[in-house]
Amino acid sequence: MGNLMHGRIAAVIPSSVASLVAPLVASLVACALGVPTSAQTPARASGNQAAQADAPPDVPLSALAPSNLAKRRPKPPFDLTGNWFIDTTGNPEAWRFGAPYPTFTPAAQVHIDASRKAAAEGKVYRDDIGQCWPAGLPLIMTRYWPIAMIQLPTAIYMVSGFMNSTRIVYLDGRAHTDPDVVVRTFNGESIGRWEGETLVIDTQYFRGDHHWMDQGGLGIPAGEALHIVERVRLVNGGRQLEIAYAMSDPEHWIGDWNSTKRFNRVDDVDIQEVECLPDLNEHLQSTTSKTQVK
């Protein structure tokens, strides 16, 4: 290979230069042919040990890695596996993270005032969810759609029936991702730990645009500094899930905004494929009507 490359180069450039360049070119070609593209080509490790050896030292084992799942851990106090649905018995508005409200900052009050003005005019203020933006945490938890939860020793996988939004709560002891490399999302990064009979979930690293704490009512924005701590318990003999939310976002309100929600176990429904397709709003005139303030 080296000789062949040397011969071709020598035909077009002086031999003195070719003698320096040819080994370099040959090395680059050899590297290009020999190293697989990681995004598209599976690693050819012969076993777990080899795969781990290739990984940078600060990358945690996948929550689905057999060696992670097999680690010895205390038995969790409960298993959330099942389908859950926000409990609105006696209060159809229970999906809202409403009163008691915290004291809002001027940055939030601008939007709240604008949303109240829009409502007084019979309009809807910046309904980004209706425009197919993700609901994000916390609203994704209280959509009027079931949430499928699958609990493993290392993580809880949550898939909302609403747009199939995925949320993963890691339970394997990992720390939050380095803020310099984390990819901010609408559901954030959730790390859970067991405290007695309670699962405590800490969620950070949210997208701070097109992300709201309410929909179609008060225009309360959620910012990048949003930090949510959920204290999760199973109650009523496992038929209900209770989540106490403590939410802070110093850009938009002062102190903690607390709210407690209950969810019913629903055994007669499975989530379905639900997507906000390009033709959806074309046929839902209300989302494109003059009532929308975007």
């Binding site: 409990d87 159809p92 508005e93 969810i129 079931p146 747009m163 009512g217 839902l284 989302t287 009532t291």
Partner: protein, 146 residues
Amino acid sequence: MRRGLAEWRGIGLRRSLIFVALACAFTVPVVAHHSPAAFDRTKKVTLVGTVKEFRWQNPHTWIEVLVPNDKGEDVLWGIELTSPTYLVRAGWKSNTIRPGDKVTVVGNPVRSGEPSAIFVSLTLADGRTLTERPARLGGATTGGKE
């Protein structure tokens, strides 16, 4: 033609009659991906027309109905319904209505006056009436918001 016209046809009245019923009825359940605040829940429109399209899909099912106005022109109305998950529990199927069917649809209109409404009930040519109720999962009553 599709939008901007707000002629509504009433049952048993002449074709051009605008029939808006001020309703004090219960809030109609909805499982929407968007805010329902665009709709005026205090009003009802009754649309008598011909089905142009019935789309059975998530997150919304919708019906498009051609409703003639007083000039004999068809106005295309869009009626937004909840998810098939709920509609099945209220007796709906994907072939409950088809293009060309004569139907009467009752809905809450958008506040802007555009030909758009959120679903309340449907009466078929054979007289059967369908609603979205019971929209119920796990003991929770779905009322007013997704």
